[in-house]
């Protein structure tokens, strides 16, 4: 289960078109599906575990773990990532059974200070390195279990999305979204509530897994 200690050569994906490996501090459950190691091209985390991908989860082509040195991302069981851009310098949690559509942006940091002069200093350094590796302020993102994010959704630093919520396509989420609600728009606003699935807890299909 803990693949973090496996030698690098065994950290390749047999079906991968990209000649990369899974970084040492990334834990992928053996039952999870990772389409390509290209998703780690921007990965720089030095945390003990920088990305953890749970049982039965999948991350398809286009997903990018753009994780900074101190960033930690966790992807819950049966979560589905379809080309999300995960920009993380602190912490992004994605709950179990959460579905994330294409082109979604989850960012716990702007990678840029609001102060104009500080931004100039950052860009002057970046002119030499051609990378934005400076640590900038970050606030964790928490996306609960059983959430569904529509395509092109942006989730801003510090946002918590409650269990069972649905975020409509192209919404930009600046404020917390309560559990079991539907939110849409830019900025996103709650437009209705959903029933919690207490009555579905004993669903047979799920209990077999």
């Amino acid at each position: 289960m803990n693949q973090a200690s496996a030698p690098a050569s065994s950290r390749r994906l047999p079906w991968d078109w990209f000649p990369g490996t899974i970084p040492d501090n990334v834990e992928v459950d053996p039952s999870a599906y990772l389409e390509t190691t290209f998703c780690f091209c921007l990965y720089r985390s030095a945390a003990p575990v920088g990305v953890r991908i749970g049982r039965g989860a999948s991350a398809y082509q286009g997903t990018m773990f753009d994780v900074g040195e101190r960033g930690v991302v966790s992807v819950g069981e049966f979560a589905l990532l379809h080309s999300a851009r995960i920009i993380c310098d602190q912490s992004i949690e994605i709950g179990d059974h959460t579905l994330i559509s294409w082109n979604v942006v989850l960012m716990d940091t702007y990678r840029a200070p609001r102060d104009r002069l500080a931004r100039r200093r950052l860009l002057q350094k970046a002119a030499e390195t051609h990378a934005l590796t400076e640590a900038s302020p970050a606030r964790p993102i928490r996306i609960g279990a059983n959430v569904w994010l529509g395509f092109d959704v942006c989730v801003m630093p510090g946002v918590t999305i409650g269990e069972g919520a649905v975020i409509g396509a192209r919404s930009a989420v600046f404020d917390d979204i309560p559990p079991y609600s539907v939110a849409v728009g830019n900025p996103a606003r709650v437009i209705r509530r959903l029933d919690s699935p207490a009555s579905l807890a004993a669903d047979e299909t799920r209990s077999e897994m």
Binding site: V105, R114, R120, L123, H130, C154, F174
Partner: protein, 202 residues
């Protein structure tokens, strides 16, 4: 393509041609400027000698320069663009220290006419059967982005707009009106929600 040029011009290919590692004619890069991404010039069609001029110390990581025959784009010094899409039929002027996030679109044109009758003509002119047929006039107005502007991921900047110096465009914003210098905007359509730089020290 990974082009890094210490000189001011590297005209190698005619407009509309594009190949790995080569810069089209009309493109000049300042010293220490990096252009990265296989598709940067795939839709670069400008025939102007200054179709794309980029200053010094810039990073264009995955940016795409879709510039029409008469389009002209200028970018200042120390800019950092990640996967931005610049669509230009006329003019796009970008200042110094401008940051543009992932999947941002900036367009100085509507691409097609608004009038339904004109759009019928345009659809046929653009079709495989419309070779050589003139397209109807299409609105395009220059876009100006002043110094120190920050544009967050997935934002959209539409034609004819000026984004004032130091403005902060939140991710996902669809900007349909001028943004005054130093303002912070968000939403679709984007609205001013405060100042780019907070009063209290951060």
């Amino acid at each position: 393509m990974s082009g890094r040029s210490e000189t001011t011009s590297a005209a190698v290919l005619p407009p509309g041609r594009w190949a790995d590692g080569m810069l089209p004619a009309g493109v000049s890069l300042g010293g220490g400027t990096l252009v990265k991404g296989d598709f940067a010039f795939k839709r670069f069609l400008s025939r102007l000698p200054d179709g794309l001029v980029i200053g010094c110390g810039c990073t264009m990581d995955g940016a795409r320069f879709a510039i029409g025959e008469n389009g002209r784009v200028s970018i200042g010094d120390h800019c950092y663009f990640t996967n931005a899409v610049l669509l230009c039929e006329r003019e796009l002027r970008i200042g110094n220290f401008v940051m543009i996030g992932w999947n941002v679109t900036i367009a100085d044109t509507d691409f097609h006419p608004i009038s339904p009758a004109q759009r019928l003509v345009d659809a046929e002119a653009c079709s495989p059967l419309g070779k050589g047929r003139p397209r109807p006039p299409i609105a395009s107005h220059p876009v100006v982005i002043e110094d120190d502007v920050y544009i967050g991921p997935a934002a959209t900047i539409l034609k004819g707009l000026t984004i004032g110096a130091g403005a902060w465009i939140e991710p996902g914003a669809v900007v349909t009106a001028d943004v005054p210098a130093g303002a912070r905007v968000l939403g679709n359509p984007a609205r001013i929600v405060g100042a780019a730089e907070p009063e209290e020290p951060r």
